[in-house]
Amino acid sequence: MADLRCPTCGKNNPDFLDNCQFCQSPLRSESTLHTGESPVKKNTGELEPILPQWLKDVRRQGRESAARDAEEEAAKPKVQKNEPPDLLAGLASQARGDDEEVPSWLASINPITKPSPASSSTPEPEPETDFFAQFKDSGMPSAEPKTSEPVQEEMPSWMPEPTAPPPAEEKDELSEWFAKASAEPSTPVEMESELPEWTSPTEAPSYAFKEPSPQPKAEEDLSWLHSLEDSSKAEAQPPAQQETSHSQAELGWLNDLGDATSDVPPGRPATDEPPSWVRAMGGVETSAPVPPVEPKKESSRMSPPVQESAPAGEQPAESNPVWLQGSEGKQGDETSSEKVSPFTRRTGPLRDLIDDDFMPDWLKTATEEPSMPAPGALSEWFRETDLTPQSTPQSDSDASKGSAPAGSEVDSLFSVDVPDWLASSESDSADASLKPAEFPASDSLAPVDLPSWVQAMRPVESALDLPQGRETEYTESAGPLAGLEGVIPVAPIGSSRRPKAVSLKLQATDEQHAGAALLEKILASETTPRPIVAQTNIASQRALRWALSGFFLIVLSAMAYLRTVSMPIPATLPVEVRSASSAIARLPQNSTVLVVIDYEPALASELEVVSGPMLDQLVLTTRARMDFVSTSPNGTALVRRLLTNTGISVPAPNGLDYKAGENYVNLGYLPGGYTGVREFLDSPTTLFPQAGVAAFREYAAVFVLTDHAESGRVWVEQLYARNRADTTFFSVQPVLFATSAQAGPMLQPYYSSQQITGMVNGLSDAARYEFVNNSRPGIARRYWDAFGVGLLMATAAIVLGSLWSLVAGLQARRRGGVG
């Protein structure tokens, strides 16, 4: 036999094991059957040589019993065979049908389907054989009174040991039942004397195997009984009655037992027709029908279908035997409703998937169980169980003597063929009857595949021993947490478990509060109207302003009225004025010059004074034709005033007698600023057809009269830029500027860069130019004295004001120092 080495612990294991017998680790990955997978048929015939001796014995006994059963079947008339008791009629048919599906090797080793009383190792009394003959007659080989003791002695440990209740508990229930039986006025002595040997208390341990599986509540037991009744009714009712009569005849030895236990339920229906030995027990229904059912289920299916136990609640409780009622009434109520097999999840799907061709239950159980004890250990286990009923009083076992044969027979069936999962499935079925909604029969709740050792570690006991007060806690029924209670708190969604309230109060220090208060104060002060501080010195300033204004008006008016010419005019001309005078002097005679009027009426008087000497020289020396163009809309009206005030257009002999259209042309307004000037430079005749030149370069000179530096710079820039593009454009002709005193300093750099040929700036330059030009036209000279006085007064006012401010400052500083 080849050994499998455990990948976890490294120890060798038999190859028929799926899990390591030492560490319970899976030896093969395919050993587990997952949900949704179909079981694979395995050939287990080769495993027979490796079977233990006790199993071989069992199989041998099964073969012998099957052979004997076959002989009896052949000897029996068909009428009797087809007339099983009403209660067991359905079982016979099902058993026959199931036999067809059971493999031969499984049928041979199954003592339930093929019981063999002869193979029992212990001597069995004859009544036992007679008793089980009714099962033979009913066509249910599984009900054959096989040797229960030998089977129990050789019961392997892989039998439903985990689900077996404690022996002490069993003993107590049985003792109670026995006590009830002993309390009857019947004659326990007779019963004791007539009881067969197998009904001795030594057979009581068989309950240890019987109780785990049938221990569910009375409703569960009645369910399969009810199903059996239905099946029997569906098959043949009359034969069942004949079988019953036949059974009564054969089980006459049990009729005396009826005196011992006369607890016949008053409402029991007559159609039940219990066996004769049952009637002999006082009409008590034993669990004799149970064994035929369980083997049938076992042989046909690996586990009984849940549907069979589901309608158990409909069965009246009186149908249970008294000895079962005694035990089930107490134990079944206590455990069936609380016992939840932890293997339900695992075995549930297998119930639907495993068929008879699959691995035999004993082998499967052997391979699934984590620890398979040695045969020696099994004997010890049986010895322990055998000792338990021996401790019961002899008087209490009177009633058990009557039921012991049937009970031991049933137990023998369960002990051999009913594995733990079957017992648990029964308990599951009982549980399902209680909680149909939570545990449906379908395998949809079995998605978990857990190792058997993990399942064995589930706290089943704790779940079973739950107190009644903890029923409100939810017990997990599916998944890895199956069997655990209260793991996941049961609380409705949106329950009172709300998060802890957190205070929204700002945690700020006093300093931060102070800063916030200061900020709020500042923001509030922005919107608070503040009173305007009254200035006490406004009146004095106004008086000072009136005084200075009056003083200036009076002085200047006096100077104008007096027409004084007392103030001398400097004889030397500034460089720019001299350059302008020289440029005009070099102009050719009768040439055409351009005069740009680029000032506003407010400063017309100054520009007339400034440009007067220059234009007078031009007219006198060259008699040039003047084209006037204005870059200001009001400039066109200033041309005539200019020519009038400078005496150019004044008729002779007081003036130069220049005539409009003949000696000068007022071209008008030139719009566009920079672009207008540029356009005029490119094509003056396009803008002003009356211009005296065809091109700008034909002008002998350009005179710009401006009171604004910006407008004067436009002419300078455009002319210079045009000259740089075309050096022959206007590089020779002079560009002369007559500027106001406020614009002269800003245009002075252009003269320094020689972009302007000459410039006359303000009244001072005009007075000098006029002085050099023989005091013509004389306007500057008339204003010169008043201009001089006005400058002196302004200078004096500035100095006096500065001194006043200085003294006031010193006084304020002195007062501040003293204070």
């Binding site: 106004r542 302003r545 009136w546 204004s549 200036f552 008006l553 200047l556 008016s557 100077m559 104008a560 009225y561 009426p601 407010a602 400063l603 008087s605 100054e606 004074v609 809309p633 009001n634 066109t636 009206a637 008008g668 307004y669 719009p671 600023g673 920079y674 672009t675 540029r678 710079r713 436009v714 300078v716 820039e717 455009q718 002319l719 210079y720 830029a721 740089r724 106001s740 005193a741 406020q742 614009a743 002269g744 300093p745 800003m746 750099p749 252009y750 320094s752 860069s753 020689q754 972009q755 303000g762 009244l763 001072s764 008339r782 204003y783 008043a786 201009f787 006005g790 400058l791 302004a794």
Partner: protein
């Protein structure tokens, strides 16, 4: 004697006194005079624009039979009408193109003129200011003048240099050298503003003297002496 010149002079006298009344305080006479000047100037400007712009460059040209001239006139006319859409917020976008043309062309012209006519020539002039050898006469004076111009330009630019480090007390403080340069530059700036103010004062003083002289002459003519 009651000629147009007399009434003109009389009107001038009255309006001048109304404007001088502002020396006392803001009064209706001053406001009437101001409103009158503004109205007359605007009316006159409108007349000038019609006379010198619209009539010769639009009305007369549109009467031309030359399609080229007419076409070249219609395009500016349409652009001019789109500028009128600026008066209506919902239609102001129509004038964007004409405005873009005006601004673009004007900016290009002004920029070219500023670079070629002001920036480059002035840089050259600043350099030549120290070239005393080119001076035919007064080379020393020219050197002094160039030096003063250079110092004034550099120190004035240094005044507008505001980069400074932080003093230990947290206040920004410039380097001592830069502080001296800025102080000198501030002097040049003060002198420049003083000169500009003096020019404005002289221009206003000249206008005032002209007005006083005109008024006295009118009164003198009116009185007869």
């Amino acid at each position: 004697m009651l000629s147009i010149e007399f009434f003109s002079a009389l009107g001038g006298l009255i309006l001048t006194l109304m404007v001088f009344s502002y020396l006392i305080n803001d009064n209706p006479l001053f406001r009437i005079a101001v409103y009158l000047f503004i109205g007359v100037a605007s009316g006159y400007a409108a007349t000038v624009v019609w006379q010198y712009v619209l009539l010769p460059k639009l009305v007369i040209v549109l009467q031309s039979t030359d399609p080229n001239v007419w076409l070249l006139t219609v395009i500016p006319l349409l652009l001019g009408f789109t500028l009128l859409a600026k008066l209506f917020p919902k239609l102001s976008w129509l004038g964007n193109f004409a405005m873009a043309v005006l601004v673009g062309v004007g900016a290009a012209t002004a920029l070219g003129g500023a670079v070629l006519g002001t920036l480059i020539p002035q840089v050259g002039a600043a350099i030549d200011a120290l070239d005393y050898r080119s001076a035919t006469e007064g080379a020393f004076a020219k050197l002094i003048e160039g030096t003063v111009m250079l110092v004034g330009t550099v120190f004035t630019l240094g005044y507008f240099q505001f980069t400074a480090s932080r003093a230990p007390d947290g206040t920004p403080k410039r380097n001592a050298v830069f502080e001296g340069i800025a102080w000198v530059g501030r002097l040049f700036i003060a002198v420049t503003f003083g000169v500009l103010f003096a020019g404005v004062y002289m221009a206003a003083l000249t206008a005032m003297i002209e007005r006083l002289t005109s008024m006295i002459n009118f009164i003198r003519q009116l009185v007869g002496f």
